[in-house]
Symmetry: C2
Subunit: 248 residues, 2 copies
């Protein structure tokens, strides 16, 4: 149950701990097998879905704020978040902010900045959704994965944020460095292809894909194969060590 | 001569017109023939160089703020500015802000936010430096082009901003859409190559470059040639109309 006092102190005391008019929003894409999903939170007592977001502390960097907000709002830790764009049109939250606080039963002062203009720094990540268990926080009724292409309409300008993040994610496929952070330690060529297909939203030719990936010179074929499937065991690959990162 | 009153009202009245803790900074690359330069301003009464930057008005979008700041601080108009990254570490302006206002002879209140943390949204642009005449504003001693690789050390984290913007500019060369905004209406293949070489900081093979550019299928050869040079008149090209933009 939501503590009213807890939320009301937000406007009197907690607001002093945040930089005014600034927030971060996280577009977390979830991938598993061939499926691309999006992590959404549902506002308490309302049928409104939104990206997990929050304010920026006066004593934390933007990157730290994004990680903290994602952890607090969804339970996700150790996620490789990448900043992609800052959203700062005049009317990007118009009307909706008041609705959010009203729904929480909070009487926000008329001049409180969260009711007015907020510039938001967008971060995106790609995680294996089968490996994480999202958890709703105290201002949400739910925190869950939705199919990217079959999601509810989102609050504020969050739909535009998702499209922008998806464009950034697609561009990142061109760079071998970025792709290395998106895959587990070792993977098969069909697995890598399914990732690219899900993100690009279209099927790719198997031979061309394999050729293009190998030409980049960043993949290393491992001396063993994936076993246990119905088909002939496929080769396993990994990215050259200088490209591997924390990743999934 | 700088009006002291003019700057002092900044802290009492003008600060109300800006969003607190937020600024924009513009990395303007200048290109002409084979030369890549950077547009810098010199702080009044100090030997400190910086990118042209300024605060974000409460009633203007981030993009509008970037255009206004660039116009006011350098005189440049109708520049195609692209947002590339937002800089928000904790200590990015530490110490330097006080120096700036002291140098201007302005007694800023100790708790004034421009003396403390400011998150800055970076924009970059590429212009033909032979076509614009930068003009210093009232808080600068100079506003001038510097060779990119032979520039003075910059204030705050502006050197890191320049490197970040240069990386974004280099990446933009991979996208035909972005390149189209960087060239004049019609150009020769050697002109396009010189642009790429200046931005990448290395010479490119003429035949490979031409082949790669033509393979993209976005260039159209015009039915006339550039004349007047000492060499054989080269073909003129332009980007297909759907790719042309305001550009230079």
């Amino acid at each position: 149950m939501l503590s009213k006092t807890c939320v009301e102190t937000f406007f009197t005391k907690q607001m002093q701990t945040y930089l005014p008019h600034l927030s971060v929003d996280c577009v977390v894409f979830g991938f598993h097998d061939s499926d691309l999903k999006l992590l959404l939170t549902k506002w308490k007592h309302m049928n409104i879905w939104a990206l997990p977001g929050g304010y920026v502390g006066r004593r934390e960097s933007l990157d730290d704020a994004a990680h903290r907000v994602l952890r607090h709002r969804t339970g996700l830790r150790h996620v490789h978040l990448r900043q992609f764009h800052t959203f700062g049109t005049l009317n990007r939250r118009e009307g909706s902010s008041r609705k959010l606080w009203d729904g929480l039963g909070v009487r926000a002062p008329r001049d409180a900045w969260p009711l007015h203009r907020v510039v938001s720094i967008g971060y995106y990540a790609l995680v294996d959704f089968s490996r994480v268990r999202p958890k709703a926080d105290y201002v949400s009724d739910a925190c869950t994965w939705y199919p990217l292409r079959d999601r509810p309409m989102l609050a504020f300008d969050h739909d535009a944020m998702v499209e922008h993040a998806l464009a950034a994610l697609r561009e990142s496929l061109d760079s071998p460095t970025a792709s290395a952070t998106l895959m587990p330690e070792s993977f098969t060529m069909p697995e890598l292809q399914r990732l690219h297909e899900a993100i690009l939203g279209k099927p790719l030719d198997r031979r061309n894909f394999q050729k293009r990936m190998l030409e980049r010179g960043v993949l290393e074929r491992l001396p063993y194969r994936r076993t246990g499937g119905a088909h002939r065991a496929p080769f396993l690959y990994r990215f050259h060590s200088r490209l591997r990162r924390a990743g999934l």
